[in-house]
């Protein structure tokens, strides 16, 4: 989502120089409970363009910033179904239509023999869908992201937890948002430069 927001923001003001523009404000926390509470109160405050960063998955964090569901299970179901139907069709078409082989008068459409490959292709297509949809929806690989401009953000993959309120948020105000984040008692507060 961030990438999309970034792109929109970039397109909007193509005219002024992009250097040193504020991407957002980032609060740093030392444990996941604090991050979860902070994310929930930022969302309750009415901020919508927020993202939270953590070194391990935290249950309920995405929900806390207003992203209750992911579409991945549905995509995987569709991918698996396509693989299964396609796999069965391939076997039926090749064995019964395109290249019929009469083996002692046995039926050409011998469905029990088609089960294993139908199953394998269902699993294969579902797994490929799961894997690629994670990276496509996350817009990864992404070589650049403003969050990495904060030196302390290197700890986001180690032992620190970050909450970022982005400048594109309609409610974002450099002073008020700063004060709001300050109230959450973070370990540190960083300005993210784009």
């Amino acid at each position: 989502m961030n990438a999309a927001v970034g792109e929109v923001a970039r397109r909007e003001d193509r005219a002024p120089p992009r250097r040193n523009r504020v991407y957002g404000l980032m609060a740093e926390f030392t444990d996941h409970d604090a991050l979860l509470a902070a994310a929930a109160s930022a969302f309750a405050e009415g901020y919508k363009r927020i993202d939270a960063y953590s070194p391990f998955p935290i249950t309920g964090l995405a929900e806390a910033i207003g992203r209750p569901r992911t579409i991945i299970p549905l995509l995987v179901l569709l991918g698996g179904a396509a693989g299964g139907v396609g796999g069965y069709f391939m076997q039926w078409y090749s064995m019964a239509v395109d290249y019929p082989l009469d083996v002692g008068g046995r039926p050409l459409h011998s469905w029990p023999a088609f089960v294993p490959i139908t199953f394998e292709l269902t699993v294969l297509c579902a797994a490929l869908t799961a894997f690629f949809s994670v990276f496509l929806l996350n817009r990864l690989p992404q070589p650049y992201h403003p969050a990495f401009n904060v030196a302390a953000f290197a700890q986001a993959s180690h032992d620190r937890f970050f909450l970022c309120i982005e400048a594109v948020d309609p409610k974002f105000d450099p002073v008020q948002t700063h004060a709001f984040l300050e109230n959450l008692r973070p370990a540190a507060l960083h300005e993210v430069i784009e």
Partner: protein
């Protein structure tokens, strides 16, 4: 708010149960109490980034590379001269190649079992061994896949096995278990690879952020794909990870079932048996756990990972090995019983020949190393003694290889027609390809240990968070 869901919390180790286990002297910890986010990251990432590798790594790599050269040599000669350099002939057309194929692919199963099935069963202890075992799966399946290809006779046209619009206007025979095998093994490899990489990306980001040289930062940075640990990204990653685990669970049971169809669909006495699929799957998990122990026990010692891979892990894996070993032993008993009970003279002859024929000594060696020796695992002292456990696991690995030898060779060498009976003797090239494949496996494994985090850092952090919350 705990770091994990309520369901995790509900099934998290019940304190009274773990107190009881401790009173009985069973190891209960999945992670040492002193571990923190910092110590976990440091311990695991330093192996890859900063720590000097032990001399034994260099020595192991030397041995592995030597065997790998032997493999290249044997394969190059095979491509020059054809499968005639092996001991295979009629009636034993499936020699070492198929024995090794089944052995390697069975070994792979423990990795998927640990990473997928134990994840769905909320077994916390899997966390610190799943990455290493998934890597083991990948490398074992890679070794396995090579053998049927090399056995094809003309390996360079292996793609004829796949359905593609070819100029000959032909299709693979989709009713054949051998074609099912192509789909099963390639799906298994692909899904294992995706599952492994999806779990690896956040850890690659950790390595990128902690890299001490520009080169490492760039390489890990490219592999991490720009992962930044965003909550929404984690949500999708976790959802897909869980779904892949769900998909891999039936897959792991199907792959060795399909492999067993290669045998049981044939009418040969000793192969034509309905017990094969479950018996093969149990054997696969049995040998896989043995290989995991053979890898984990030296690695945790050499790299000082005893506080992450604890005695509880060893004990649990030994328990799984004991259980699956008993299933395999039941399979042996049932094969012999059914041969007698069927009243079929060919089955009875096969069983008598298997026990007392020219390969009888291999059958009895199999009973010793695969059935008798593992009974030592009933003892808690053996299960929690790394050195003893290592040797029991080694015995099981040998035993499972012998089992496949017995199934493939003794069934083929004497079938219905005594005039076509013959012996099978492996040649130098059979042995060279087999030991060479062990070299390939070890080389890949040692490179993995050297360059990638062998324990999932982000998942162990979850254990730490949970431990903090429980305190």
């Amino acid at each position: 708010m705990p770091a994990t869901s309520d369901i995790d919390k509900a099934t998290h180790d019940d304190p009274s149960a773990s107190a009881a286990a401790r009173a009985l002297g069973y190891p209960t910890q999945v992670i040492e109490p002193a571990e923190t986010y910092q110590s976990v990251t440091r311990t695991i990432s330093s192996i890859v980034l900063t720590r000097k590798h032990p001399k034994s790594w260099v020595f192991g790599f030397f041995v592995a590379c030597t065997l790998l050269m032997l493999f290249f040599y044997a394969v190059a000669y095979l491509l020059m001269r054809g499968v005639g350099i092996w001991g295979v002939n009629i009636p034993v057309a499936w020699g070492f190649a198929i024995v090794n194929f089944v052995w390697w692919i069975g070994i792979g199963h423990a990795g998927t079992f640990i990473s997928a099935i134990l994840l769905l069963l909320l077994q916390k202890w899997r966390t610190s061994i799943n990455r290493l075992t998934e890597a083991m799966t990948l490398f074992a399946v890679a070794c396995a896949g090579l053998f049927p290809l090399l056995h094809l006779g003309r390996p360079w046209v292996f793609f004829w096995l796949l359905p593609y619009p070819d100029t000959m206007g032909l299709w693979p025979q989709f009713r054949s278990p051998l074609v099912w095998d192509v789909f099963a093994v390639s799906t298994y490899f692909t899904v294992s690879l995706l599952f492994w990489f999806l779990g690896l990306v956040p850890d690659l980001a950790t390595l990128r952020d902690r890299a001490n040289t520009r080169l490492k930062q760039t390489l890990y940075g490219v592999l991490a794909l720009g992962w930044r640990g965003s909550a929404v990204h984690w949500q999708r990653q976790q959802s897909a990870y869980l779904l892949l685990a769900g998909l891999a669970t039936p897959l792991v049971l199907s792959v060795h079932s399909v492999v067993s169809f290669d045998f049981s669909v044939a009418i040969l006495p000793g192969w034509h048996s309905t017990i094969f699929p479950p018996y093969f799957v149990a054997g696969a998990i049995y040998s896989g756990f043995a290989m995991v122990l053979n890898i984990v026990i030296p690695v945790r010692k050499l790299y000082g990972l005893e506080s992450l891979v604890t005695l509880r892990h060893l004990n649990n894996m030994a328990n799984v090995m004991l259980a699956t070993g008993l299933m395999v032993a039941y399979g042996y008993v049932m094969e012999a019983f059914m041969a007698w009970y069927s009243g079929d003279i060919f089955e009875q002859q096969m069983m008598a020949n298997r026990m007392f024929g020219p390969y009888g000594w291999i059958f009895w060696a199999l009973m010793l190393v695969n059935v008798l020796v593992p009974q030592a695992l009933w003892s808690r002292r053996v299960r929690t003694h790394p050195v003893l456990l290592f040797f029991v696991a080694l015995s099981v690995n040998l035993g499972m290889w012998l089992e496949r030898f017995v199934i493939v060779i003794t069934s083929l060498h004497r079938d219905f027609l005594p005039s076509s009976w013959n012996m099978y003797f492996p040649t130098f090239w059979d042995w060279a390809t087999f030991f060479g494949s062990i070299g390939l496996f070890l080389t890949l494994l040692l490179l993995f240990i050297r360059f990638l985090p062998m324990i999932s850092i982000s998942e162990v952090r979850e254990l730490v968070a949970e431990k903090e919350a429980a305190r």
